[in-house]
Symmetry: C2
Subunit: 450 residues, 2 copies
């Protein structure tokens, strides 16, 4: 039932393209969903891709282009002239159309829009192109069915018939007044069950959740999730209906957000895909590595202050990795929990003194467990008792301090308007390395000189 792209399939496909076996190719493509055609096309170079897409009806070709990932599409569309691109754009919903047009070079962009011959679509695109892509305005599509409050069900069905070429998926009809102000919603189910002469005014649901254009994508996704919505209407400040956002766009927002958090935690600045160039891939990694390196150099200078102690008691150096690693691990554990609870924050301030106390108690329990274990191990291994005490004391302090740092950093970043996930990455590790070293050597100095 499901299509699976194998290497053999791809090979025979490429051969067919090279041999210009158009009828064989068309036969193959006829059996596939546009999404599957996309995944085949994605494995071809731009010239082959173009050849295949040109064999399809424009409507199917448009769907294939829409499904491609944006990096690949950018390269592919260089092979098409503005006329051809405009022809595909006519078949794509305005929200996706704008995304695709925004990937084009500025000059081509203007030209493509002017060449879209569906006037309504071109207007939609001009309306949408100015919104930032991270807000409700940038996510919405203009295609929707609106019905006047005073219409009958029959009139409304007439409107759906008229619009059905443009609006692919309809769950509900948005109800507006004569000034296009959003008043409510009526589901297709209700219309189907109602008598033809019933007025929309009698069956519509006046309680409706809508968002204004400037609401952030993040917030839109929270609202849609909370209220289990499959689509949400977008209005301007006067309540005028402008467009709608559907759940599939929100799924993308959620996934992107999760990916960003993971990249931040992994210390990768900016989006990186496998197929980016070697330079891009190096560039997004280097900043954090340099920060980590600077931390390491600072650490080296710091340990240098204790050169005499180390040459006398070299065993002090043995436990440096233990202390820094534990600080790093505790810091990341703590901060990632705080980051996740910030992301889920519902209603009012969920992080207060009580939760901070709880975090500290957890740290205390883990700290005691770890230090006792390490102390026991050191005794079994015949380490010097004084050194064992120093290591365990330092470990305990590091666990507590790394917990405090790991809790406070994301909260502060969040308050300052940065992504708190930043704090769960190399930043915390580097800071905790230094913190751990400081604690370790200070504890060592004070205990050795007792």
């Amino acid at each position: 039932m499901q299509f699976e792209l194998t290497e053999e399939y791809l090979d025979s496909f490429i051969q067919a393209v090279d041999a210009r076996k158009n009828s064989w190719i068309r036969e193959q493509l006829d059996e596939l969903h546009p999404q599957d055609i996309s995944s085949v096309v994605h494995e071809l170079d731009s010239v082959h891709s173009k050849y295949v897409i040109k064999l399809l009806e424009n409507e199917t070709g448009a769907q294939v282009i829409r499904e491609l990932d944006s990096e690949y599409r950018k390269r592919l569309l260089k092979e098409f002239n503005p006329d051809e691109i405009a022809a595909y754009i006519s078949f794509i919903d305005s929200d996706d159309a704008v995304d695709i047009i925004n990937e084009l070079p500025v000059k081509t962009k203007e030209e493509v829009i002017s060449l879209v011959d569906n006037k309504e679509k071109a207007d939609h695109i001009r309306d949408l192109i100015h919104y930032d892509e991270d807000c409700a305005g940038g996510l919405m599509a203009k295609e929707l069915i609106r019905a006047n409050l005073n219409w009958s069900v029959t009139q409304c069905i007439e409107e759906i018939r008229r619009q059905s070429r443009n609006v692919s998926r309809i769950h509900s009809v948005y109800v507006v007044d004569n000034l296009d102000k959003l008043l409510g919603i009526v589901s297709l189910k209700k219309m189907l069950l109602a008598d033809d002469n019933t007025l929309i005014a009698d069956i519509y649901e006046p309680e409706i959740i809508a968002v204004e254009t400037f609401i952030s994508a993040e917030e839109v996704s929270q609202i849609m999730e909370k209220y289990d919505l499959e689509a949400i209407p977008v209005v301007n400040v006067h309540g005028k209906l402008l467009g709608r956002i559907t759940i599939d766009d929100i799924v993308d927002v959620i996934k992107e957000r999760a990916e960003q958090d993971i990249q931040m935690m992994a210390g990768i600045s900016g989006p990186a895909e496998d197929d980016d160039s070697v330079w891009t891939l190096s560039k997004v990694r280097l900043p954090w590595l340099i920060i980590g390196m600077s931390g390491g150099m600072l650490g080296a200078k710091f340990i240098g202050l204790f050169e005499k102690d180390i040459s006398m008691i070299p065993a002090m150096a043995f436990f440096i990795p233990l202390i820094t690693a534990t600080g790093g691990n505790v810091g990341i554990q703590t901060s990632s929990v705080v980051v996740q609870s910030l992301a889920k924050e519902s209603g009012y301030g969920s992080f207060n003194f009580a939760s901070f106390l709880k975090v500290l108690i957890v740290a205390l329990i883990n700290g005691i467990a770890l230090s006792s274990l390490v102390f026991g191990l050191n005794m079994i291994l015949g380490e010097d008792t004084k050194l064992a005490i120093i290591v365990s004391t330092a470990l305990m302090s590091v666990v507590l301090l790394a917990t405090v740092m790991g809790t406070i950093t994301p909260l502060v970043l969040d308050k300052l308007g940065y992504n708190p996930a930043l704090a769960a990455g190399p930043f915390i590790t580097t800071a905790n390395d230094l913190l751990g070293l400081a604690i370790y050597f200070l504890v060592a100095q004070s205990l050795y000189h007792l």
Copy 2:
């Protein structure tokens, strides 16, 4: 338009509950969505919560209970007797009903099911309760509209009317034959636009994507995303229609998956919520801390082998944190990219020799950049040239080796059927700490003795 829960609101609400001001409370609740009532109730203790929920109609109460998070609900439902729980369950879709029932103690579970007086619902629940929650069977709801191929649109509308009390959201009607085998789908839009006497057979869409019950939640979410589906039918091995999965359940799957990955990366074993007990929170963190600690102890033993060298050249100890931190950072960067590309893997094997080579080149560039920087810095800071060479050589080797480890580990884990995100966590850090130390001291020994 949107409800915001403030501390003041909550205070006055609690006071009203204490004073048993039922009419005031009802007035307040009347204005809220069930989801908002849930967020109010969530801040109350179980006894207050129960009091508030009992003031609501059973149907609204059921929605409020459904929206609560599972930990809170578990505690709350202890306050209700099986009769009361069964009354709410009647109003909840079978998929969510099963989730709630599964949270109950085994004894209560059986009792509640036997007390559900809607016989169809009880049967649905009995059908669903045996499926694992991570597969299509465990995600599906039994509530859907099915139409026989030979019905007319009018007959189908009759069926929708009959079922509309049970099925809250309808986008499409599933078309089956006399043996209940799934044949296709017909959208409400098409039915609305068709003539009443049209046969379903003439307007239905025979190409339909369905999943079998044993397909994993992960895979279901990939299919629904790929084909932009808002609902997907679930069938048994004979193609018989059993239920449907809606996109809101998939959003949960995606979010949970992202959370799990982040927890794995942060070295937290198992789900942990802020409101878990101190013991649970400690327990999920300790395993990785102990692994990290063991790595640290091993490292200490390893460095111990070079005790004589360190007492002669204590400066060797200074750069331990630099080496281990860089290994850790590079390892996590690399592995998290591999983990993400595994998660997105579409079609056939996307990771091959060419991509491995690319990863190595990136590592080489970053390695050269870092080692040169560190060498330069060490020269400026007046460090011994030989030591500077050792540190930079070790750094370069660590970057390369950590890259190889960070690439291979998630691939191996994935092949073995484990979550590859495991590799982006403390596991990689610990391994790279040891690897880094080994490289550093081996390089040092061989270069010093030249």
